[in-house]
Symmetry: C2
Subunit: 267 residues, 2 copies
């Protein structure tokens, strides 16, 4: 009987490799800080925060596949399809996507209403008008203008930051009006983070990375930097971060943690 | 603005192509017949039944990929990665998997409790100890004995039949004891269906398919027929179907629809 469980262990190993490869955890931390700020039960939000990270990790595993962005390195380590193979990378991504919804649905520290709302927010952010739609547009590429690029990143990056923030708000039973501010906060933060990444892709590859160039640069993709130049891209980032700080002032609670989070997003 | 929606339409087209390619709908029909038999609201079960079919379709899209079973034909039509490309096949599968949980979470004809229970059952059946685990074991293949094969099919095929049946039971607020019988009914039916497929793969490829041989046969996979021979495999199928009919007698309601369903599973 023991032999039979080996394949699952293989799957779990692959999932762990991808999940625990040392990312910044920006999305789950956002979920938990949002709950904390709004006075909710932070412990009850640990599992949904992990679910957000599972969705993020699954989307990276699939985006890195040879048939997509064809990235061989992620966070300084070989990507999953390099370490295992393509089949296991597809399946491990599928597994993490599925598990995200399972763990939220089983979280007994949340009410049924909270669990359903979180699954609604997370599935919407992950589907056609979110992560997956963003990736479809990204694959088409071609000649993009700034509006197209913003639209793309609001889906591909903004949607999951927005979901992360909203899930934190749901755990704290935020009001409808608070939810609207938080929705906009997460979306704006996600966009800012993408602009920052576009800047770091260029500056880091010049200063630090040596031969290791990001796939966007390698594939000649349109970015904020190629469209605006690095100086205007930096200005765009500053404006988006100022908007985030502005939205925070409309929300109750102690903003210190989230202000610190915003300040540290560069590092 | 209209131009921007084109990519989504592309995604929706691909999802429709895969979903509406004329399968037998055995799983969603099982969900609805189960609800009907137990006296539940069949209309409320339409959306979760579709969600089950979305999960089934996603798993076929990903299983057919070149890095998995590498199937070019499904239900007599070119598979999704042949019509579109591999990237769209991965993303369309991801989309259907995500959408399945979204539509259940948004179904207002179901109580919060029913929605959460359905998401629990469906995500569990789709994850490591279900569809995905089954596919991982299938990829490893090698020398399987009958027990290994049964274990594989209980995950890869049995899990989703079991979930389909249980979701129908949840919609009808079945008792815990009824749920246990229905769990076993779905699992046994799924196994029977897999044995039947193994038989048809051989007999249909001889009599009907001409050059079109199933990927299991093509890839020299271990099946019930290669292990038992066609006659004993047929006997195994008959026994499993007899078990299904036997379990039905332990359940309340009018069994006529499900008995008919079992009789027609060959066609």
């Amino acid at each position: 009987m023991q032999q039979k469980h080996t394949p699952y262990r293989h799957l779990f190993e692959a999932a762990r490799y991808a999940l625990l490869s040392g990312g910044k955890r920006l999305r789950p931390v956002l979920t938990m800080f949002m709950t904390e700020m709004l006075g909710g039960d932070v412990e009850a939000t640990l599992v949904p925060a992990c679910a957000v990270e599972m969705i993020h990790t699954y989307s990276m595993i699939h985006d890195d596949l040879p048939c997509m962005d064809d990235d061989g390195v992620r966070r300084g380590k070989p990507t999953l399809h390099v370490v295992y193979d393509e089949a296991h990378a597809v399946l491990t991504g599928d597994f993490l996507l599925t598990l995200a919804f399972q763990v939220i649905s089983e979280e007994k520290n949340l009410t049924l209403e909270q669990r359903i709302q979180m699954i609604q927010v997370l599935s919407k952010a992950s589907a056609a008008h979110g992560l997956i739609g963003g990736q479809v547009v990204d694959l088409l590429d071609g000649s993009k203008n700034l509006e197209d690029l913003k639209h793309l990143h609001l889906n591909k990056t903004g949607a999951l930051f927005r979901a992360a923030a909203e899930i934190g708000a749901i755990a704290a039973d935020a009001t409808e009006q608070e939810r609207q501010h938080i929705h906009y906060f997460g979306e704006t933060l996600g966009l800012a983070y993408q602009v920052l990444n576009d800047i770091l892709d260029v500056s880091a590859s010049q200063e630090l990375r040596g031969t290791e160039v990001s796939s966007d640069v390698k594939n000649g993709k349109v970015t904020y930097v190629t469209l605006l130049g690095i100086e205007k891209a930096q200005k765009e980032f500053d404006q988006l971060m100022a908007s985030c700080l502005d939205i925070l002032t409309k929300l109750p609670g102690d903003h210190a943690l989230l202000e610190q989070y915003l300040q540290n997003i560069h590092s």
